[in-house]
């Protein structure tokens, strides 16, 4: 039997004004287990807390009930008080007689009556409380960053800077991501490569950082502080540690005609290739679908010209197993396919391109060496039409496109238009827009400069149809402000395609048990207050995998994610919430119902040996809750058909005791 102490707070007149606090204290005295009951003006004050401490010592209390304000306010306070007096902090229950009683009822009689009932419920519950100890688990002091774009790079650098080892997993042969493909960056127009490649070199040279390029995460197990991850390092048929990146093999490879992914297929690369000059790691990779040696066993030229002897046609995929304390998702984005938007004739004409293709066309390292040309005939375009919001801001029921604003298109289109007019003043540049959205530091000023200084023609309206005819693109569009339909003979049409999360994100989210929204963006733990954490403990979000973002925003989020990771890795041990599910193994029938409802993957099934009454042993399959992963929602307790699963701190018996106390 517990020895319960009851402490009724007046909260000045907040409670005492509508609740007869003496009567409450008096009434609760006769409840089972109660050995001490008192009231005081401010229980949360130092003096009030001393009363509690003293009573615990004097009356050998094993549990206390504080009738006061909401537990959301002072539960933590009174738990600390109890702990200071040598009591387990989870032997404290709060009866909320302020927010849910004195403040909502006006009549003293009703208020007092209800306060007594709430007090009784709390006493009934505390009688069934058991001391709880939060679980502890060690922390593996190593972080995994999935994705090697600017988000992943920044996160890795910041974590490494704090002294923790970091691994980057990147599925492409090089890190750098989308930013490496860009030409200039808004709103300052500094060249993307000039600011990104030094960071890539920093990553390569940082002793704390390992890069697994051309690799993918295969399997994730474990939990916060203790993830077990399997990484598949795809065979690149080149020994990474030996290859010097000299490029002799690339030059000699006879299989030259393969679409170059880095230039979005606008030119070709050989079967053995280095994506771009500043690639990190600067190591060649053989495309097994293009290499004649790998397909037919004939050729072997690259092996012969490689002075270092780095070519290895027998290389196999390799699985690397590693332990991590924290995982950062930085899987980024892609422009959506323009397949469904052929009113803009993207599939019919080479001169209708996406904005990312435009970046490559204007990039000095791109397929045209930075000269703005029409992809079809290499001529200089004199009239260029930019179309905004292609596939963004669509109705949820629409058959194509995304519901959200892709956020970055207004600014990069202003940038493209401005740079075109700057370099080629003889070019007419039209931008068709629905709204120009430029909330960002120096963003609107940038857009205004495009209009006022560079003479870009911004038209409020949309393009409805692009008809390739001869060497022209006939653009039919609306100009809503002058209430006209425009017909423009353009040489180049650039589509600001909506962006979407990378396709690898969805299977990864499943592996991580991290949640996603309907657009496959990762969900944050709280949209305002925990924007870089996933609801799954130990999984953090960096960059566009969480939502469309420009570079400055990505970098700041990457830093924020890193600081959260550092905060986690700096701990030697993690203390959990002790109010978690636990299964009575003797009652568990191994049905897996709980495992299926658990949103965190905290429940696994294990085969366990049980001693039977006849002294034989029997192996049974029973549920096992991982205390470090369980968040204590209790979904499993209701799903369990045999009543084996229960929630500590909110046990079935405790809640029923409360129900009984209320329904008397």
């Amino acid at each position: 039997m517990q020895r319960v102490g009851v402490f009724v707070c007046w909260c000045g007149s907040n409670i005492a004004g509508t609740v007869d606090v003496h009567a409450v204290a008096e009434a609760l005295k006769s409840e089972p287990g109660v050995v001490f009951s008192t009231d005081y003006q401010y229980m949360c004050s130092q003096a009030g807390q001393d009363i509690i401490k003293q009573a615990i010592a004097e009356h050998n209390l094993t549990g206390i009930v504080v009738c006061s304000c909401s537990p959301r306010m002072h539960e933590a306070t009174f738990r600390k008080t109890a702990q200071a007096a040598g009591l387990n902090p989870y032997m404290v229950e709060i009866a909320n007689i302020r927010e849910q009683c004195s403040w909502v009822h006006k009549d003293m009689l009703t208020g007092t009556e209800k306060a007594i009932i709430l007090g009784k419920a709390a006493v009934a519950k505390v009688n069934l409380n058991t001391p709880l100890t939060p679980g502890e688990s060690p922390v593996t002091k190593r972080a995994l960053v999935i994705g090697g774009g600017i988000a992943g790079i920044q996160t890795a650098l910041d974590i490494a800077d704090a002294g923790f080892p970091v691994d980057i997993v990147e599925k492409q042969p090089t890190i750098g991501g989308k930013m490496a493909q860009l030409d200039k960056t808004f709103p300052t127009l500094d060249c993307a490569a000039c600011i990104l490649t030094p960071k890539m070199v920093d990553v390569a040279q940082n002793e704390k950082i390992r890069i697994f390029s051309y690799s993918e995460v295969e399997e994730v197990g474990g939990f916060v502080g203790n993830f077990d991850v399997k990484i598949k390092k795809k065979a690149r048929f080149v020994k990474e540690d030996i290859c010097t990146g000299c490029g002799a093999c690339v030059e000699k490879c006879p299989m030259k005609k393969n679409p170059n992914e880095f230039n979005l297929g606008m030119d070709n690369r050989p079967a053995i290739y280095i994506p771009f000059a500043q690639a990190v790691p600067k190591v060649a990779t053989i495309d097994p679908n293009a290499c004649n040696m790998l397909k037919n066993g004939k050729c072997g030229l690259c092996a012969r010209v490689c002075a270092a002897g780095a070519i290895d046609y027998t290389q196999k995929d390799e699985i690397i197993e590693e332990k991590y304390g924290a995982i950062v998702v930085a899987t980024g984005f892609n422009p959506i396919s323009m397949e469904k938007f052929d009113e803009f004739a993207y599939n019919q004409s080479k001169d209708v391109i996406t904005s990312l293709e435009f970046e490559r066309l204007t990039n000095a390292a791109g397929p045209s060496a930075g000269k703005l040309i029409r992809p079809s005939d290499g001529k200089h375009p004199h009239t260029i039409v930019f179309v905004q919001c292609v596939g963004s801001r669509c109705d949820a029921c629409a058959e194509k496109g995304k519901e959200y604003c892709s956020k970055i298109c207004c600014m990069y289109t202003a940038k493209h238009a401005m740079l075109t007019r700057d370099k080629y003043p003889d070019t007419d540049v039209y931008v068709f827009y629905i709204d120009v959205r430029t909330p960002g530091k120096n963003f609107d000023e940038f857009y205004r400069r495009a209009v006022e200084e560079f003479g870009v023609k911004y038209v409020k309206g949309m393009v409805g149809k692009v008809t390739p005819e001869g060497d022209k693109l006939k653009v039919q569009a609306s100009d809503l402000l002058s209430n006209k339909q425009l017909h423009i003979d353009a040489d180049l049409v650039v589509l600001a395609a909506a962006i979407e999360p990378d396709k690898s994100a969805r299977p990864l989210a499943t592996m991580l048990t991290a949640s996603m929204d309907t657009n496959d963006f990762f969900t944050e733990a709280h949209p305002k207050l925990r924007p870089v954490e996933s609801p799954t403990a130990g999984v953090f979000l960096s960059g566009a995998c969480q939502g469309p973002k420009d570079i400055p925003e990505t970098v700041s989020q990457a830093g924020a994610a890193a600081s959260k990771v550092i905060g986690l890795l700096a701990k030697d041990k993690l203390t959990g919430n002790p109010c978690i599910a636990s299964s009575n193994e003797l009652m568990c029938n191994g049905c897996s119902s709980c495992e299926r409802v658990c949103p965190y993957g905290a429940i696994t099934y294990v085969d366990k040996e049980f001693r039977m009454p006849d002294r034989t042993t029997k192996i049974r399959r029973v549920a096992s809750v991982n205390p470090a992963v369980c968040q204590g929602c209790g979904a499993c307790t209701v799903a369990c058909p045999s009543g084996a699963m229960d929630l500590k701190g909110f046990a079935n018996s405790q809640i029923i005791a409360e129900v009984d106390a209320i329904c008397k």
Partner: protein, 263 residues
């Protein structure tokens, strides 16, 4: 294989050859078009306004007939197909509309959009298969550069018609490939020829038709094929200087049944 067939008014008059080539070709491909007895005109245009019941009853009757025979319903005129398909969709998805129609029809069993509605081209693609069609071709139209003209009715509204990608359709192009010719892809193939307006504003219709013809020619077309009598009328009337024919005509030609028809 037998299917229910809804020819429509124009195919009994000005577009007789569209009908006849369709029947002969289907027969050669092993499909019998069973004309629905006592079919009534579809009305030529689907009224999208809610509460329009009477104008859709003829389509529902044809659909119900096919349902009772457990056959898919095939039509070849773009307009008939559009009206029947949209009516069927409304019967399937708009329970209020279906209830009113069924009350009006007062038949023993109600109809709720069970019939599969195919355009002849869909029949070629999905029931016959373009590969099977290719095998039956005896006069391949090799080297002929043919531009497919879809117009509006075959493809839109896409949520209902579900025939092909409305902005980048391929069914007619694949059909052209199957009969051995070379498809010409041009952007105006899914734009309006001026259709209904040609009665009142012939000049306006002309400008629309011309844009289609010019675009097809600019992309190298030597011939335009279509499934719609009104499109054909408009294109020819407005000065097409390359042949504009029904797709069933080139089909019949490729299958070697064109001459039988004329006899």
């Amino acid at each position: 294989m037998k299917v229910s067939y809804f020819p429509g008014c124009t195919l009994k008059n000005k577009a007789r050859d569209l009908d006849e080539y369709a029947r002969k070709s289907a027969e050669r491909l092993g499909i019998t078009l069973e004309e629905i007895p006592d079919w009534q005109c579809c009305g030529g245009v689907f009224t999208t306004a809610k509460g329009e019941i009477a104008t859709k009853l003829s389509s529902v009757r044809a659909l119900k007939y096919a349902a009772e025979k457990e056959q898919p319903l095939v039509s070849v005129c773009s307009a008939c197909h559009n009206v029947i398909k949209q009516t069927n969709y409304a019967m399937k998805t708009d329970s209020d509309f279906a209830k009113k129609v069924n009350n009006y029809m007062a038949e023993e069993t109600p109809y709720n959009g069970e019939t599969q509605v195919h355009h002849y081209l869909e029949m070629l693609r999905d029931l016959v298969g373009f590969d099977a069609l290719k095998e039956k071709v005896v006069n391949a139209l090799s080297g002929k550069k043919i531009a497919a003209y879809y117009g509006c009715l075959l493809l839109r509204p896409n949520s209902v018609m579900q025939m092909d990608d409305p902005e980048n359709p391929k069914v007619m192009e694949n059909f052209i490939k199957a009969i051995g010719a070379d498809p010409v892809v041009y952007a105006m193939r899914n734009e309006c020829c001026g259709g209904y307006i040609s009665l009142e504003s012939p000049e306006f219709a002309k400008s629309k038709s011309n844009a289609v013809i010019e675009n097809a020619k600019a992309q190298g077309a030597e011939m335009i094929i279509t499934a719609c009598p009104l499109c054909k009328y408009n294109l020819i009337k407005n000065g097409a200087d390359i042949p504009v024919v029904y797709f069933t005509e080139v089909l019949a030609e490729a299958l070697g049944v064109k001459e039988d028809t004329n006899e």
